[in-house]
Subunit: 252 residues, 4 copies
Amino acid sequence: MKKTTVVTLRDVELKSPLMIEGLPGVGHVGKLVADHLIEELKAEKIVEIYSPHFPPQVIVEKNGTVRLVRNEVYAYRSSDLDLLIIAGDHQSTTTEGHYELCNIFLNIAEKYNVKRIYTLGGYGVGKLVETETVLGAVNRTELIDELESYGVEFKEEEPAGGIIGVSGLLIGLAGLKGIDAACLMGVTSGYLVDPKSARSILKILCKALDLEVDMKALDERAREMEKIVAKLREMEQGVTPVTSDEDLRYIG
Amino acid sequence: MKKTTVVTLRDVELKSPLMIEGLPGVGHVGKLVADHLIEELKAEKIVEIYSPHFPPQVIVEKNGTVRLVRNEVYAYRSSDLDLLIIAGDHQSTTTEGHYELCNIFLNIAEKYNVKRIYTLGGYGVGKLVETETVLGAVNRTELIDELESYGVEFKEEEPAGGIIGVSGLLIGLAGLKGIDAACLMGVTSGYLVDPKSARSILKILCKALDLEVDMKALDERAREMEKIVAKLREMEQGVTPVTSDEDLRYIG
Amino acid sequence: MKKTTVVTLRDVELKSPLMIEGLPGVGHVGKLVADHLIEELKAEKIVEIYSPHFPPQVIVEKNGTVRLVRNEVYAYRSSDLDLLIIAGDHQSTTTEGHYELCNIFLNIAEKYNVKRIYTLGGYGVGKLVETETVLGAVNRTELIDELESYGVEFKEEEPAGGIIGVSGLLIGLAGLKGIDAACLMGVTSGYLVDPKSARSILKILCKALDLEVDMKALDERAREMEKIVAKLREMEQGVTPVTSDEDLRYIG
Amino acid sequence: MKKTTVVTLRDVELKSPLMIEGLPGVGHVGKLVADHLIEELKAEKIVEIYSPHFPPQVIVEKNGTVRLVRNEVYAYRSSDLDLLIIAGDHQSTTTEGHYELCNIFLNIAEKYNVKRIYTLGGYGVGKLVETETVLGAVNRTELIDELESYGVEFKEEEPAGGIIGVSGLLIGLAGLKGIDAACLMGVTSGYLVDPKSARSILKILCKALDLEVDMKALDERAREMEKIVAKLREMEQGVTPVTSDEDLRYIG
């Protein structure tokens, strides 16, 4: 495996599905939502993507076995909604890798005739936040009104630094292919894995998709995190940013 | 888009134009000048350049939509002066990218029979400066006298560390193609976006091009920055260097 | 040599050998074991691998001559056990290099019909440890029982951060080729070259291979290191992590 | 110029010359010697090498013009000694670049039937040194006796960390091509440009080549540096390592 390798596990038939991307990033917000959806919807894995752009690393699973770091695509089918969900352990470690992987996701989107892409992420503001704000950015102006009706907020030129990584690049590149795409960003401290912010996104996503999803697991994680945050406030001392999966496991 | 992609938006006819490059860099001096010229001259965009050498990032625009990070070429035509202006969000993140993008700019220069290139940048001296000095460097000795007559200063072997990034590389590579090129560097602290230094360059550039440009917008920004600088002097405390666009927006 | 170059020094015949990998890493644990085995078993070098993914560096040998940084494969043959041992000065400095070199190791494994791979490494816990624990991870569940019988411990999702570098990647990629592979990780501080942890791994490996190896050299090193550790405890002051070979020489 | 480009300025005839490499590195020791030799011997430049592996940068020369960062090969011819001298502004910024450029140097060596290569560098010991020690490393044992007779010292496995960069890689790769090569390393603090250490190397090199070279320029620089060192000792305060050319100009 010297090149990025796309392993198709099974071919499914989907009716112009929506695509949802939730890879690790700020506060692991996007990953928490995607993983939660996959579990609750019992989505089935249809694609595995391996790449030398991922860290040279294996993940040790519960049973003591290992597997290569990878990205995955899951499919969910129901009578009125079909979904493709992109999840994974890591984003690319290189700039070119980001472009390459986004192209792969878009090829899959085109193959399945995806009509809209939602990318999910956190928007780190550098301090502990109570808000449940979800910021949006789109690749076509016409999407804004609809998304605002679900509770997404749009602020002029925010995030000022642009959107970095797959969540931004994917909607930008989707525009070049004529696929509607929106990025939903949960406002979060950036210091901690943030299931509360993930829940805020999930609520909005459920409205947008007209979908019902049990949120118990996220609720529990959010409560636990609130206790940690309370303690942190007590201690009033600095914490360091969270960016990799192990922290998810440690805290979650 | 796995490779650098040059999107030609329209073909224009230009009479042996000058090329001006002003990409983000020290004090955003070059970018401020190029963006100001594009706006005041109502130059029209003729080329967009996308590249995996740019950060994997999208820019969120005023209307909430996103676009990929890119470089752009604008054309300006008038009875006695034609210009090609290179502007953009970022320089390459990789060394090879720098070489590749400079080659693309030079191919465009050759296509339009560009007779001279001006690259614009800041020369960071590490402390707040009052001076309006513009340092020059050229790729052919014969250009020095002319530029000195516009007020550009030439100092032996300065900048001692050479000129890093597109502004330096482009005039170096232009020499190999036999195109005259000069780099104009506004002396600046390197700590802050510096519209005052940009104005110093613009004044000289206007003399060199025999061009009149309204400077109000830059003047205003310069005044605002002077207030900030005054405050900084009061506070007499360290500040950190500015290198990316968001800061431009934040301060400007 | 612009590409990774595999120099086959001699072709040997091996009866479905085991492959053991011990390259530099955390606490140099893996390297200590592999180098010790090569010396004690008088294994013969059959392959040298040179690569631009290794640091641009030469090693100065005892006699004042230099040689390029490289990885090596040694062969050991006996009546009831054949081994291929991977050793070397450095791991790849790039992500792609890691993938490329693991593929090379696996090609060699396939060529010789290797039936199982053991990769050896350290598991840094960030504090001085007295324990002789060896953690395991495998690429097929069925291997766990056997390895536990030799004293290897398996802990759910440990190491939580996955296994980084050749030791992890090799067993992950081996799985894709259908070759059984296990990673044995000696628990170590991560601050010091750790011959004691290496000895713990070697003991287990000897059980697994039904092999007898003189451990005197490792024992001596372990005793020396114990003295250093004792001193460190006295001083009760921080030490910095060890990651490159020179330190091996310095301390060992 | 997207690839490394070798510009042959003129073809010369040389009688099995020696090759000397002195690129920037620790204490700029090698560069000082190579530049000094080129000037004193009035060697003529025969090759320029441009590469995207060098920093994307131009050098501003005395007359205010710029040129791309490059490496150069100079030729010196006399009745009893012919030389090829490799000099330049920078070493490669990438690992692959190091390998690529060393191959280019070796191709030139083969073309001119070079019988021996001397690479020159500094050996940083991390503290101010009075000694004039020159350490050696060779790619064939037989060279040691001869070099010791010129005053080069050989110490077992020193430098312990190997020799990093062109000076090491070139003699390592030369060995693969059957060209004798030695690295001469002037012991130096690593904190300062060190003309005194350069002079120590030059003296030995002159013996080895049976060559007479005026050392006045280096002597002057060495005296100036001695004053600086004396001041530093007075101040007894830390200084930071020197690695790029501008510092050469600043101090020299």
